[in-house]
Every structure is written in C-alpha cells, then in structure tokens.
Amino acid sequence: MIPLSWYLYFSAALFGIGLFGALSRRNAVAILLGIELMLNAVNVNLVAFWRYGDITMMAGQVFAIIVFAVAAAEVSVGLALVISVYRRRNTVIADELDMLKW
C-alpha cells in the first residue's frame, strides 16, 4: 500500500515547482502555467485526503471539482488579459509592463 505521505511529498514538490515558475518566469503566459501547476498540486492533496479519510465524505472530490471551475475561470480571464495587453503594448513580458510603477 502507498502511505499518504507519498502523495503529500508529491504534491508539495509539484507546488514548489509551480511556485518557482510563477515567481521566476518573465512571460505572463508562463506565469499562468506555473499557477496551473500549483492548483493541480492542491487538487492532488484534496483527492488524497478524500481517499485516505472517510470515503463516504465526498468533500475532497467536491472541492476538487470546484477547483477545476476556478482554474478554468482563472485561465480564461488571465489569458484574455494577456492577449488584451499584447494588443496594446505588443509585449507579454511581465517586467516590461511597468506603467503603474511611476
């Protein structure tokens, strides 16, 4: 049998990778890719806790499904913003979008 710790290690590692991507990438689309990895790591945790707890309590799976909806909403709005910014400023590099810095 697989102990719960393996899933937790796995999702912590995936979360760390996603965090690194979100913090260090220059391209705005790539930052969103990192955020997706983090959301997936959270979802693995939710489903693992469902499986290793009382399986008649569906809260883990229900929240995993809600995270899917939130992820879809986040990606659609995020990518719409990126495309809109690209049309106006002709760049998607997060460092160059600094008009609010003044």
């Binding site: 049998m1 697989i2 102990p3 719960l4 710790s5 393996w6 899933y7 937790l8 290690y9 796995f10 912590a12 590692a13 995936l14 979360f15 760390g16 990778i17 965090l19 690194f20 991507g21 913090l23 260090s24 990438r25 220059r26 689309v29 790539a30 969103l32 890719l33 990192g34 997706e36 990895l37 997936n40 979802n43 693995v44 693992a48 469902w50 499986r51 290793y52 399986i55 008649t56 569906m58 799976q61 229900v62 995993a64 499904i65 809600i66 899917f68 909806a69 909403a73 990606v75 659609s76 709005v77 990518l79 719409a80 913003l81 990126v82 809109s84 690209y86 049309r87 002709n90 997060a94």
Partner: protein, 169 residues
C-alpha cells in the same frame, strides 16, 4: 515494493520531471505541451487514488480546454516563432529559494502530523463514488450552494474574458 508502489513512483517521477520542464524550457509552446504531460500525470494520480471521475474530468477540462487555450494564447502573443532573450527574470534565484523553502517547510510541517503515514482503507465492493458525488453536488443538505456559486463564477469569468479580449472595430 508492491506493483502499486512502483506504478506510483513511475507516475510521480514522470509528472515531476514534466513539471520541471514546464518551468524551465525556453520554448513556450513546448512548456505548454509539457504542461499537458504533467496534467496527464496528475490524472493518472487520481486514477491511482480510485477517483475515476476526477481523473476523466481532469483530462476533459485541463487537456481538452485549458491546455488548448494556453497553446492558442502562446501562439497569439508572439512576434515571431523564435524565443529570444532570457526566459527567467533576474530574481530567479530568489524564486528558487522561496519555492525550496516552501517545499521544506511543508515537509517539516507534515513530519509533525500524526496521520502522516496513514494507509488507505479498502474500498467496500459496490461503493458508488460517482453516484454519491452526484447526489452530494445536487443535494441542498450538502454542496449545492458551493456548486452553484462555482458555476456563476465561471459564467461571470467567461463574460469578463470575452469582454476583455474583444476587439472593437
């Protein structure tokens, strides 16, 4: 090592390697394709966890919609097909430090938790997870309100996304 554990290790290794490729590869289309590989790995993880419905929904929603959206966005936001310049900002070492710290912190936190090395109970035969999930999602005593709120959020986000990305002629 049971066969189950070997499968888990293979899937986890492949998923983490593709996750690393997502954040490190220079070509953004490749990064999006590596993301697809990672998402498949996570779907396999759900399948190992006996959550078949979540695994299939993961493929439908993430691979079928979100990954395609990413690939479109990458293609629509580049001046040419080559990627020039560094892909990571100059503070990437700080990002790496913070993420390693997060991982270490989480692991340290896990170690102090009693239920850490718990193993799963055997699923009783005839247990219908999908049916239970469906009735809980639509039952007023359970999760119908969060479910409806999530769908309203999704609708609002879609309307907003269309409005933001719309070009006025």
């Amino acid at each position: 090592m049971t066969p189950e554990q070997i499968i888990f290790l293979i899937v986890a290794g492949a998923t983490l390697v593709s996750g690393l490729m997502v954040v490190s590869t220079r070509n953004l289309v490749h990064a999006a394709l590596w993301l697809v590989a990672t998402l498949f790995g996570v779907a396999a993880m759900y399948a190992i966890l006996n959550a078949g419905f979540i695994a299939v929904v993961q493929v439908v929603v993430y691979v079928g919609a979100i990954a395609i959206l990413f690939i479109f966005a990458v293609m629509l936001t580049r001046r040419d097909m080559r990627d020039s310049g560094p892909q990571h900002n100059k503070n990437w070492w700080a990002g790496a430090f913070v993420s390693v710290l997060t991982f270490g912190g989480l692991v340290a936190l896990f170690q102090s938790w009693a239920g850490f090395s718990k193993t799963a109970a055997v699923i009783p035969s005839g247990f219908d997870a999908v049916g239970l999930l469906g009735s809980q999602l639509t039952s007023p005593e359970a999760y119908v309100l969060p479910f409806e709120v999530a769908s309203v959020l999704l609708l609002a986000a879609m309307v907003g996304a269309v409005y933001v990305a719309f070009t006025r002629k």
